[in-house]
Symmetry: C2
Amino acid sequence: MDISNPLYKNQGIHVALALFTVENGRFKVFLIQRKNQPYKDKWILIGGACYNNEDTETAMKREMFEKTGIKDVNFQMFNIYSRPDRSPVCRMLAVAYVGVIDCKRVEYLRETLKTQDADWFPIDKIPELGYDHTEILGDAIEYLKEKIFDSAILKHLFPKYFTLPDLHGAYESILNKKLDRRNFRKRLLLQNIIEDTGMVQEVAGKKTAKLYKFL
Amino acid sequence: MDISNPLYKNQGIHVALALFTVENGRFKVFLIQRKNQPYKDKWILIGGACYNNEDTETAMKREMFEKTGIKDVNFQMFNIYSRPDRSPVCRMLAVAYVGVIDCKRVEYLRETLKTQDADWFPIDKIPELGYDHTEILGDAIEYLKEKIFDSAILKHLFPKYFTLPDLHGAYESILNKKLDRRNFRKRLLLQNIIEDTGMVQEVAGKKTAKLYKFL
DNA sequence: ACAAAAGTGTTGCATATACACCCATGG
DNA sequence: CCATGGGTGTATATGCAACACTTTTGT
């Protein structure tokens, strides 16, 4: 392996994270706005270089922490992007992850060294993104919809204990369709994704709701 | 992106292919033996650098053609491997694919510039592999077993037309367990993976068998 | 006639879907 | 007493698993 061979020198490994939340019943994605060229002023997904002492998962966690201050996230790799011209800077492969968190926990910085702004965008109001991130975001949404019933990928969207109506609303927002309440509860309980804690939440003006937790 | 930054310079993008076949009822993988350091004399999976004008799928197809002379393969990406120390040469990410072909079509070269030998190994007689390829091969087998009923990943294991007993035997070899003939046929037909062609194969000493094709 | 290979159908079980009424609370 | 929100059960359909006998052919 001759690293100076022009056929394959100057390659870079990046990670990209499609970070989602549900806020007030709206499904949203976290974007940052670039300060410099290329794609100056364009919005893009969280991401960055994978350092030489990190595997891509570690790099993803570091990026996540740098950009949002959050460490405990469930994210899953769903694809790679390797078109030779996908970055104008150099030949760059991106390993793409999807994750879902509670947006209230993000103390995001509106301006950093490389970004001038950061915000949550409703999924139906996404601006044109830089690089190939529009494609990555689309794939991430597909993947999330596919996996939402197969794993605890929403684990960090809510506090430790949550009510079933809250969770139900989140699923409906992400899948963008109505789900039957009874079947929804049965499915998550039977597949051992959530568990009844025996506790209830009392909210003025409403019937008490049972509290559940993820397993 | 400063490509000379020591944090992330000298990165490489590789592809690895776990190429399987079933021959005489035995599930096998194609391995090549390295001629040079590192891992001199060790057996490894097919693989190599992704060039700067290729995406990883193109690189995979090129490697496949260089090493086996075959172009039409169904392969699927199943994971990436990014541990910083996985190659002693330089920081190297591998994008791993799995594929299945008819071994009779491979006109493999026993010696090339970088390899001194190449052969098919029964899955229960795999030598110790170089790099992290033992791990990659294990993951590839898992993935193949998971996906074998969901896609036409075996499409190139047989000629255009094949009998159901042949296909049945291949599934049993790969999954390493018995499958009920009746349920097997129903499943593949109902899921529109294969189709009855109306033709039959006549073999001396046997009852005629229907010929099927992949959809 | 029998041994070897290929063809075929039914039943039960588990999982997913469709669907409607009761209860608690605050106004 | 009614509107809102939360809780619950049953009946049907669909997908998967278990299971045994008949037909053809060559010896």
